[in-house]
Amino acid sequence: MKIRFLISLALLLMLSSALLPAAPARAEVKKYQRTVERYHIPDVVLINQDGKKVRIAALLNSEQPVIVDFIYGTCTTICPVLSAGFVNLQRRLGPASRNVRLVSITIDPENDSPKILKDYLKRYRAQPGWDFLTGSRADIDAVMKAFNAYIPDKMSHYPINLIRVPKDGSWVRIFGLLSSREFLEEYQRVAPPAISGVKP
């Protein structure tokens, strides 16, 4: 059924350019905003899905590429899309996915206990290498502010992916939602060739 659907979708996309010229005008618009930034990560301790304490600065200032997003356990709309992006990146990279560290940080720390984080990752069939962090609201606020991504209330959040460039410690800031192809391309732009696992 999935293959049949993919085939149908592919044909629809092919036909649409010829037969439906007025329809998908939005598809040509660039869907996300990309900038390169420098951030100072605060030295705070968060808690991962296994209940273990994690020093966030040490986790993020890594030799390997790191991708960060801000989501929460009961979120609708954009968090599932961001998380589907993470899990699809892991799938596309296959064994090479161990070279990239995916870090989701909750913006609903009151509700998101390690158990909820663990259940969330399980629901998305996350592979090792994707951590979901909670902690005190003050510490999480400090991390959000450091990334210029402070979200005072979870209901007014927005989709951001932050990709750390290992060679110089800068961050690629992506505002908006990416397709899995775009996400892979953005990752491969920052990952050293030896570990980028290019198999689009």
Binding site: M1, K2, I3, R4, F5, L6, I7, S8, L9, A10, L11, L12, L13, M14, L20, A22, A23, P24, R26, A27, K31, Y32, Q33, G51, G73, T74, C75, T76, T77, I78, C79, P80, V81, S83, A84, G85, R91, D108, P109, E110, N111, S113, K115, R123, Y124, R125, S136, R137, D153, K154, M155, S156, H157, Y158, P159, G176, L177, S179, S180, R181
Partner: protein, 575 residues
């Protein structure tokens, strides 16, 4: 790895697309097959459709396959329709994404909205990634099927990227569309275009003072609503022409009092009699000193919202839908102690722990909360001894227990009668010799913890400790910060919590209903509220499926004196 191979297989098939697809498009696109005579009865089909909508599970029991952003494959159990369009199908607004209604009633009508300034990128240069179309024609069953499969509306406008595409078979599509047509098609009982009927529930174990503390704010709200309606009607009499929104802002409201008498086993029949006599749209608040479960279960069965009752014994469940609670009551205090101990770095891992539980609902709920959280933290079970109230006063037998188990940490879930014996018990504990008590269970006597042992005694305290700027009754009309103190021990905060429930959470939800008079929609919009700062708790937070608004509970110690300062030893929320 298997999935990766699957992906390669799919890619290899793409060159075959052109030949195969013509057949596929001809065969299934844009259609929803009628349900055959051999199918299950209509009620069962609706149930199957509801499961697809709410849980993302196909009638076959498999997850609904779904794709987003063109090529991102997702498991729809994490992407069910209701996760964005919500239970009542009236849509949502969250994370800057407008999710439009998806009920048949709305879909089969044309949609048009005024152009918005948000239709262009905002001034911060952010791309507007989510908005609804300005207009679309009405859907038919066929165009609706195309919409779900391919993400195009009847005017061939592409959907936002967050909307998954669902490759459903014709039969499954039919079941889902039938469900959408039935979804929120009739207003809920207890609401009419001009009137809301509410009830509140009081059980006969509640004192007259507590009963008045509950009813005062409720009756005042109803009176105010009706007074506003009278003013509004006067405006209309003098020629004011209301906007569409304004027409839905004022409704007459009534409040029935459902008094439950006798043992809880008799409550369901009494509730049913009240309800059958006059169905209500929602239960506002309520109060009981006992287990709320019979009322909770009744509200689940009748799909009746019950908003923030005053109870220390809520039903702790991950699936309960219709009752919103302030918190988990005693259970939450027990949980907080478990999480605090788990994070206590000064506590040696081999410390022996003993839980002594008074044979009463309070003790049982505290112990259950502790045990659940301790087990979730993957800690070994703690020895638990349940004793009658009289045994808890027998110092000799308690001494034997302590000698037997030698607990470095004693969890003592008992009432205040045992406080005078506490120093003698603590003297028998090996290091670190910590004792945990519940301020809720000790009540007004919490401040009577003997002063010489206060450095060894920790209390769970589920209320706000930082100053609240506002009035004592929960409103915002005073400017002097309120700081809770030992004098507040034992105060059930019935009036202030009920006022908070009404003015900060419920009214907002009712105002957002407009003409969508569906109970599920009320719960949906209340779930999508922003967090609130309230008088009695540090923070109220919501979210789809979240049913306990206050998540925190401090662990405190008492300072010196008869009116001791409350010294926080933990954060509001500990993980």
């Amino acid at each position: 790895m298997t999935r990766y191979r699957d992906a390669k297989a799919k890619a290899a098939l793409l060159p075959l697309v052109v030949a195969a697809v013509l057949v596929l498009l001809w065969g299934s696109e844009g259609r929803a097959a009628p349900v055959g005579p051999s199918d299950p009865p209509q009620a069962e089909l609706i149930r199957l459709g509801e499961r697809m909508y709410r849980e993302g599970i196909l009638p076959s029991g498999d997850p609904m396959p779904a794709f987003i952003r063109g090529d991102v494959e997702v498991d729809s159990s994490a992407f069910s329709c209701s996760s964005c369009h919500l239970r009542a199908g009236l849509g949502s607004f969250e994370g800057g994404v407008v999710t439009p209604p998806t009920t048949g009633k709305r879909l089969y009508q044309p949609y048009r909205r005024p152009p918005s300034l948000d239709d262009i990128p905002d001034r911060a240069g952010r791309y507007i990634y989510a908005k609804t179309v300005v207009e679309r024609p009405a859907y038919s069953r066929e165009t609706l099927a195309s919409a779900m499969r391919f993400g195009v509306d009847p005017a061939n406008q592409l959907f936002n990227d967050v909307m998954p595409r669902y490759p459903l078979t014709d039969r499954d599509m039919t079941i889902l569309i039938d469900y959408l047509e039935a979804l929120s098609s009739q207003p809920s009982p207890g609401a009419a275009s001009l009137e809301f009927s509410f009830a509140t529930i009081v059980t006969d174990d509640v004192s007259p003072e507590d009963r008045e503390a509950l009813l005062g704010p409720l009756q005042s709200l109803i009176a105010q609503k009706n007074q506003q309606l009278a003013l509004y009607n006067d405006f209309i009499k003098f020629g004011y022409t209301p906007t569409i929104e304004m027409k839905h802002a004022f409704r007459k409201a009534s409040l029935d009092l459902w008094e439950l008498k006798g043992p809880p086993q008799g409550w369901p029949a009494q509730l049913a009699a009240y309800y059958d006599r006059k169905p209500v749209f929602a239960v506002l608040g309520g109060i009981s000193n006992g287990d709320w479960r019979p009322i909770h279960d009744f509200c689940e069965a009748r799909r009746l919202p019950c908003l923030f009752p005053i109870t220390d014994f809520p039903v702790v469940s991950e699936t309960g839908w219709y009752t919103l609670y302030f918190n988990k009551g005693y259970f939450q205090e027990g949980e907080a102690v478990a999480r605090y101990l788990n994070r206590l770095e000064t506590l040696p891992a081999e410390t022996s722990m003993l839980q002594i539980v008074q044979d009463a609902p309070e003790g049982e709920a505290l112990a259950a909360g502790f045990q659940r959280a301790w087990s979730d933290l993957e800690r070994p079970a703690v020895t638990t001894v349940t004793l009658k109230g009289s045994s808890l006063l027998d110092q000799e037998s308690l001494g034997k227990l302590l000698a037997q188990y030698k607990p470095g940490v004693l969890l003592f879930w008992a009432d205040a009668r045992m406080l005078p014996n506490l120093p003698a018990l603590i003297a028998q504990l090996p290091a670190p010799g910590m004792v945990f008590l519940s301020s809720g269970y000790l009540g007004k006597q919490s401040a009577a913890v003997p002063e010489p042992v206060r450095d060894r005694v920790y209390l769970s305290y589920p209320y706000r400790l930082t100053p609240f700027v506002g009035s004592r009754d929960g409103g915002f009309d005073a400017k002097v910060p309120i700081l809770a103190g030992a004098r507040d021990f034992g105060d059930r905060r019935i009036a202030s919590r009920t006022t908070t429930m009404l003015r900060q959470a419920t009214l907002r939800g009712l105002n957002l209903l407009y003409d969508n008079l569906y109970r599920d929609h009320l719960l949906d919009v209340m779930s999508m509220q922003m967090d609130l700062t309230v008088r009695d708790y540090e923070r109220f937070s919501f979210g789809p499926g979240q049913r306990y608004a206050s998540k925190g509970c401090y662990i405190i110690q008492l300072g010196p004196g008869a009116d001791p300062p409350l010294l926080p030893r933990s954060e509001w929320v500990v993980h």
